[in-house]
Symmetry: C2
Subunit: 410 residues, 2 copies
């Protein structure tokens, strides 16, 4: 059985936490100085683990095993949400390095290997999943030319140049190199903790459909403009947001979620009727038919509010990912490993969050495993998990990795 | 009859527009360099008009007439809204200076005089009406110590020091100096234009009650947090805003207005359930009983939404001004002057916007006069009025000023 070294794993995780510490979390935006320092440190750790490691032209850190036999690719992302948690992404990257070490140390798997990856910008400071998408050949140079920072509008090209990545080749998947891809992650929700379970075996990653809705009215004085004459862009989107919250529960599936994450009235002053309002809206589900049902209902609600409001309302779909099914064989391997180490304390579950695994699932068998999040908190510096649960997760993953590699010889 | 010099009046107005030109409007925040330049220029213009002019310790520019007989105080404000219009405030200040000149030039009124004032910060970059409130003795040094910029938090004390005003005395109303106060202003609404009228004689200035509402929930991941477990601060305030828009029309008076001017969800990202939301809400009416009715309804709605929502919701009243009645004799003088110059093309109307006149009305007879706003647009750089309407307004005001001064001898 592949055995992890818990102290080595936790020590690496704690060191990675020092790159951009913010309170008990981490602030490490993609391509920032501290992010690039963490990537260069990962190259060192991967090299120490016996991998040939490089940073590619989009910022992916990839360490390749010299093993001649069956290989798995493991990884996650290393940048964080703004003032985010210390484990979101980071844990999956350190797990990947630990798996490479543990497999290399296993006398029974000397012909097998694990490649480790830290994909760039899963969190979308510039563009979500651009690192893993680049690796599967889904990103053109023209697309990179058009991307800019969501925070300050810095062109991605400039950020890559500042990070020292301009002109470097982008790594691309080598056909038939891998049995598949595995990613470990914190759950980012309360399900495992609330059921006192230790491992979640992901069945699918939900699809996320995202919209920006803009209402254009007329900015005017809030004291002198009669109610009947107003074209209040804020009121129009409040009406839409409220209509969504009224109607969506009636058509939702059990695990559907929908969120108005942003709503801004411009200029946003107390004595000015907002002339412009912007809303960010998304919904998620593991079932493509449910996503289509939501999309149709959303379009109907926008049309109904627009028909009845003096403002012009336009909704633009920003993204629409399809749900990704995890490989049944990898699910079985993860469940069996969990049953071995924490019998009865694991379950299969969909992932409500997006992950690089959904990108890799387009091109190879892919599996994903969760460990519990304390209080279900995520995308916040207070995100945390018990170290004991991290170690359990590492050992379960190692067992599954060993199982898949051994079977891969056949 | 007191006669204005239209070219002189328009020339001064156009010059004032050059201090902080932004597109066809003006950006002249209180105490900024450009604002202080405009105040020093006003001192020159007032001095040229035969007034003894100074800038006081809060930034008020006040020019005093040497006339021994009856005197009126006229004025408005000179700073603008951010990227605001060229006439909002500025016109009333230049009118005041032109009235001082025109009265001084009238052989029949040689014993009479007009003092001119540009009150500081009516627009509330630091604190609305602080200049006129200071003049009526309503502002303590301790209050000044506690005020800071609404834009960047600069303490008012620092702004006053940077503007060269630290340590200067604040001008205070001299008892019995004036027959009263008059302010001319653009309407900032569409009523006069839509009825093809030239002059609005203000009957009262509405009271404005203003609130900040904060909802506190729990920030979490928008994909992994089940709908039933969410404490979505944005959803809570969207519910409240929608409830207001449903209920307020049922209890509103004919000219009541209410506005959600600001609504912010934090952190405002598409994939994060907002943990905090802030809303700015205000309502206005000329009738104190209507204001009380709205306040009670608002409190009830906040309580109802809070009772039914997992977020904590708190509403803080930021301000509550009482409606100000304009002096009946001044209304009559303005109406008679309007009837003389533009027969039938004037009406009495409340002011939906706040003005320095509501502050001065606390201590002396006060009147206010509007000219039409093109398209009713206000608090925006595209605000404008026809020059012909400006000239008509100036002449109507001059006639009323002459009438009031002449009667003031008795």
């Amino acid at each position: 059985m592949v055995k992890i070294n818990p102290d080595r794993l936790l020590s690496d995780l704690r060191t990675l936490r020092t790159f951009g510490t913010y309170k008990t979390g981490v602030h490490r935006p993609t391509y920032s100085d501290i992010d690039m320092q963490s990537r260069r440190w990962l190259v060192e750790r991967m090299t120490d683990a016996g991998l040939t490691a490089t940073i590619d032209g989009i910022g992916n850190v990839i360490g390749r095993s010299p093993a001649p036999g069956p290989k798995l690719l493991l990884g996650s992302h290393v940048e964080t949400q703004p003032h985010g948690g210390w484990l979101d992404g980071a844990m999956g990257v350190i797990f990947a390095i630990e798996m490479a070490r543990a497999v290399a140390e296993d006398p029974a798997l000397q012909d097998c290997g694990v490649d480790a990856a830290a994909w760039a910008d899963e969190e979308g400071h510039y563009m979500s999943f651009i690192g893993s998408r680049s690796f599967i050949g889904d990103v053109t140079e023209a697309e990179i030319d058009g991307v800019e920072s969501k925070h300050d509008g810095t062109p991605l090209r400039d950020a890559l140049a500042s990070a020292g990545l301009a002109g470097l080749p982008r790594a691309v998947l080598e056909a038939d190199r891998y049995l598949g891809f595995l990613e470990a992650h914190i759950e980012q929700g309360p399900t495992l903790e609330s059921m006192a379970q230790k491992i979640g075996v992901v069945t699918s990653i939900v699809g996320t459909w995202q919209y920006e809705i803009i209402a254009e009215g007329i900015q005017n004085h809030a004291g002198t403009t009669a109610m009947s004459l107003r074209r209040d862009a804020g009121r129009a989107l409040i009406k839409l947001a409220h209509a969504i919250d009224q109607h969506f529960p009636e058509i939702a599936a059990e695990r559907s979620v929908w969120t108005v994450g942003g709503l801004r009235l411009e200029p946003g002053a107390p004595a000015i009727v907002p002339g412009l309002a912007r809303m960010l809206f998304q919904f998620r589900d593991a079932d493509p038919r449910q996503l289509a049902r939501f999309a149709a209902a959303f379009d109907d609600l926008v049309a109904a509010v627009a028909a009845d409001d003096p403002c012009s309302i336009t909704a633009k779909q920003l993204s629409a990912s399809t749900p990704s099914l995890m490989h049944p064989g990898f699910q079985d391997a993860l469940s069996a490993a969990a049953e071995q180490h924490v019998p009865g304390l694991h379950q299969r579950m969909p992932s409500g969050a997006g992950h690089d695994a959904q990108i890799l699932a387009n091109v190879m068998p892919t599996g994903m495993m969760f460990i519990p999040s304390i209080g279900g908190i995520s995308h916040h510096w207070s995100e945390d998990s018990d170290e004991a649960d991290i170690v359990i997760g590492g050992q379960v993953l190692a067992t599954a990795v060993g199982d898949i590699l051994a079977k891969g010889r056949a």
